[in-house]
Amino acid sequence: MQPNIDQELLFNLKLPAEADRLALVRSVVQRAIENAGCDNELAQKIVIAVNEACMNIIQHAYKDIKKGEFELELTRDKDSLYFRLIDHAPHIDLEKVKPRDLDDIRPGGLGIHFINEIMDDFKIGHLDNDKGNYMEMRINID
């Protein structure tokens, strides 16, 4: 999953898949997208979506694994921002990664709903080898 050659790289982070790294992710994303011209309201929403995507990796993909890493990359192509996440956890069940019915009031399962609401589109998949997953999210900031 390589970025298009026309896209400008804004940052690339490689981090341990640990919950206490989420604050750093939020801070880097907030700064980068404000520099890219996002207003504060949109920036806050994007931070929510990216935090949830990273959290899914930590909480679900690496659920049964003590140590793992993930990569987060942000690129820009004209008015679109692309967030790409890669992990090296076992393949996830892609069928389970769907927004759920919000009328069912229960804890959990909100992350993908947030991503779906905030981002213009997203896709998930498996890396070509026997391990690893990716997620790409796009949002127009014009």
Partner: protein
């Protein structure tokens, strides 16, 4: 996340501040459930000083709300910050939780 709790007219008032994310939401969940085990009327969670809350923090609140309901106790949110309200609205939970500006407002509504 910083956390404080005190008693207020039979309620346990849980004051959270800072970022409520996956690094501390399991602790927030435990504390809310422990307060529900140990109160007369119910639990109120003050979110006025919360800068950020993610879906795991929201899940702790939903679990508190459901546990309170099951045990015939009250549950509510107080002084929800703009950042927390944005996330509650995204989850469409802003109309599910009883929300009041202050504890006094809540006590008057009871």
């Amino acid at each position: 996340m910083k956390y404080n709790e005190r008693e207020e007219s039979g309620y346990k008032l849980v004051e959270m501040s800072g970022d409520v994310d996956l690094s501390c939401s399991p602790q927030a969940r435990k504390q809310i459930l422990a307060c529900l085990d140990n109160c007369d009327v119910g639990v109120l969670v003050d979110l006025s000083q919360v800068n950020y809350i993610d879906s795991s923090g929201i899940a702790s609140l939903v679990e508190g709300y459901q546990t309170a309901k099951k045990n015939n106790l009250n549950f509510g949110l107080i002084g929800v910050s703009d950042a927390a309200m944005n996330v509650l609205q995204l989850a469409r939970l802003d109309t599910v939780f009883p929300i009041h500006e202050t504890v006094d407002d809540r006590l008057q509504a009871d």
